[in-house]
């Protein structure tokens, strides 16, 4: 029966090509617009570390002793002392410190001009904690952290630029004025967002593009990085001016992020009380005032708190769905016109014994076929839309590609929309009284 209905549907669609084209176009445009924005949304709001994000937490303590503001939330990042204290306590399964800075990078063995690159100074747990994939070599050891070892891990991008993509482990890299040995080269790694650096989103007024920049190109042990690029570290904020700008170890500034991995609710609870205990102890020492102002958010909670998805993207998504709604209304109207125009034909079918259900099914098959055609058009428009997004100057532009789930979602959405649009007209068509129609034939 389905094949017969499909045949009828094709015939019916061929009969009035303009009306068919109009409906297919309306669905295609609606699907194209909503799938483009939905894909961007899906890429930006996804879990950067599926399966792992539940065990990653972002501790915060309030190190600012002043009373200039309400202290409803602790500062987004940590001061040197708190961060290093909490890290050295090793109370979590894994823990890592991160801080970034810009510096001059040069490969003495390669005849290329120096580059200005971002360097992430972090600790050995960074790579296993965040599932960072290696192409050659590996990360450094905890021992390297302790010994301020002059080693580095570089990104696939930088390896391509400097060493033509070959195994550069063992080669030397000059970071500012210090030579370091390359111990590892990453595979292309592009977490979305660059979650470990996210902070300050609540002050960004929805302009959070920068959370989606590429990871840094050079990774060095935390202790070594602070020495190599001393004088070039930027504070997140300070409550007094630092004595030496760029050197923040003893400055009244916050500038370091700490991440911890905690497997299991009991460990999370333990860490929470450890964090509170640390803050209380520091208050007793007179270093901090707002001891009760600590937080331990999970990775996803932290991303939510920072509203990582830019507000323009939200706005566009809402707009696209309103758009789809209008296309839906439009299609309902046109389908209604199309089905009711065939009242006579339907009357004959009903008189010959077709049940209401059969007429309803026939109409829905026709609507579904329109949806399928609209889906193909919508898919093409989505590809065009994403191509346009890629040409935008935003930090996430290079991420905008249609993955397999979103490809199928395009067609599922198109057919669902058309069936939804077809339901009311099909119901009306199936209610047509055969006698009345036969009389007028």
């Amino acid at each position: 029966m389905f094949a017969y209905y499909l045949d009828l549907a094709v015939r019916s669609l061929k009969r009035n090509k303009v009306l068919t084209a109009l409906m297919v176009l309306a669905i295609a445009v609606g699907i194209g617009a909503s799938m483009t924005t939905l894909t961007v949304m899906h890429l930006l709001s996804g879990d950067p570390l599926p399966g792992r994000s539940g065990t990653l937490f972002y501790p915060q303590v309030d190190a600012d002793p002043t009373n200039d503001y309400s202290h409803a939330e602790p500062l987004d990042v940590m001061d040197y002392r708190s961060a290093v204290d909490l890290w050295s306590a090793h109370r979590a399964d894994r823990q890592t410190l991160v801080v970034d800075s810009k510096l001059k990078v040069h490969a003495p063995e390669v005849n290329l001009p120096p580059l200005m690159e971002m360097m992430l100074s972090t600790t050995s747990d960074f790579f296993p904690m965040f599932d960072v994939p290696f192409q050659y070599g590996s990360g450094w050891s905890a021992d390297d952290d302790a010994k301020h070892a002059r080693v580095a891990v570089i990104s696939a991008d930088l390896n391509n630029k400097l060493f033509g993509g070959t195994n550069s482990v063992g080669h030397t890299l000059r970071l500012r004025d210090t030579d370091v040995r390359i111990v590892g080269v990453l595979k292309p790694w592009r977490p979305s967002p660059q979650f470990y650096m996210v902070a300050g989103g609540r002050f960004a007024n929805g302009q959070t593009d920068d959370f989606y920049t590429k990871p840094e190109d050079v990774f060095t042990p935390f202790t070594s990085g602070l020495e190599i690029n001393d004088g070039n570290f930027w504070q997140f904020t300070c409550w007094h001016m630092p004595d030496t700008p760029g050197h923040l170890q003893n400055a009244p500034c916050v500038w370091i992020r700490l991440w911890v991995e905690l497997g299991g609710a009991a460990k999370v609870a333990d860490y929470r009380s450890f964090l509170a205990g640390y803050a209380a102890q520091q208050k007793a020492l007179g270093r901090i005032t707002h001891a009760d102002n600590t937080r331990l958010r999970s990775l996803m909670q932290w991303l939510d708190f920072n509203h990582v998805v830019p507000s323009d993207v939200h706005l566009q998504t809402w707009l696209a769905f309103a758009f789809l709604a209008i296309c839906l209304f439009n299609t309902v109207g046109l389908l209604l016109a199309k089905f009711l125009r065939r009242s006579g034909e339907i009357g004959v079918r009903r008189a010959l014994g077709a049940s209401r259900r059969a007429v309803f099914a026939q109409c829905l098959v026709e609507a579904g076929l329109i949806g399928l055609l609209g889906g193909i058009g919508g898919w093409l428009l989505t590809l065009t839309g994403l191509w346009l997004v890629r040409r935008q100057p935003s930090a996430y532009a290079d991420l905008a590609h249609l993955d397999a789930p979103m490809f199928f979602a395009t067609f599922v959405l198109a057919i669902m929309v058309s069936l939804l649009a077809g339901a009311l007209p099909a119901l009306r068509a199936s209610r047509i009284a055969p006698a009345l129609q036969l009389k007028t034939l």
Binding site: I326, L334, A337
Partner: protein, 416 residues
Amino acid sequence: MTVHPIIAALHKHKAGVVLIALQIALTLAIICNAIFIIGQRIERVSQPTGMHEENDLFLITQQWVSAPSADDPGGLEKLDSMQQTDLATLRNLPDVASAAPIRSLPLLRSGSVGGIGLKPLQQKDTIDANYYYGDEQALSTLGLKLVAGRAFTAADVQHKPMRDQGEPVLAIVTKPVADKLFPQGDAVGKVIYLDSSGTPTTVVGVVARLQSAVDTAGSSLTWYSALFPVRQDANFSRTVVRAKPGRLEAAMRAVRPALYAVNPMRVIDDEQGVRSFVDIRADAYRADLGMAILMSVVCLILLSITAAGIVGLTSFWVGQRQRQIGVRRALGARKIDILHYFQLENLLIAGIGAVIGILLAIGLNLWLITHFEMDRMPVIYVLVGVLAVLALGQAAVFVPARRASNVPPVVATRAV
């Protein structure tokens, strides 16, 4: 023409009427909010920076190779003399009107922000402001309008390492800063304290307007700026150059060879080294412009889809009512009466849609205000939107209505 029979006829087509009305309502709601967003973005993009004839300006950013350190006195003097030589070279170029060392430019999205207070060692600064650093020619090169006090003279200009923490002695502030700090309007000659310091800085002049270098998302910081008579020395330097009218391209071309000729030990980036202000401005507003274009395209497509829907459904009604139209024509109705019938019918439906649409539009605007920090939409946008959808309805209904009016009266006699 009486409206009564039209309403009676519409009762027979409830589904179609509801669909068209809803489609018009949604279209109206989205269109007036979209146009409002477009208007806001365009307003943002076209706001003046405060610099006069800014299209003649360009910015040179260059880096010294193996430069001395600015942190020791000998190195500092060496850097400063290198910078002075560059400035002299640039000022002597035939197509250059003037040039000044500068830390940043409006809309450059890189600059420095600090706090200004009224008391020494004030714990919390009164306002945040953008800091611009330049020499005695900065004011005229940027083309800022001085509204009170005086410009800097060559004697005012200090030179310091970029990371020097000492406060400048003199400052020129923008009028918004002056109005905020000294509401009596007597800012010139008054003392301010920068970044909670204990050292006073004297305001010598007030300029009408100077936009922020950093993206401030429309906060008051956008217009809070201060200019200090300081030539900053570091391992890189920035210079703002005003080309003679119409000579921008020639001046920009002449810069590289001239600078390399006086000192080849430098790097001027191929893309970012010499940038016209037009380019800087376009870069800063690219996202806003993109959003405005996107919204416009969305509006156009929406209007066409809605129009297509009206054409489709009205055509169907015309087809369905062929016989009734024939009867009316046979009973003496003129073509124009039939045309008016369908036009009036559409006006009624579009009117209902518009009423619902106004409510939806205002609701949508309120929702946008709470979720996206949008401003309240002026009523004029809604009114324009209402007129637009009513006109759209009339335009869309015209073709099917004309076809209806061409139905010959003889149809009435067939197959009744």
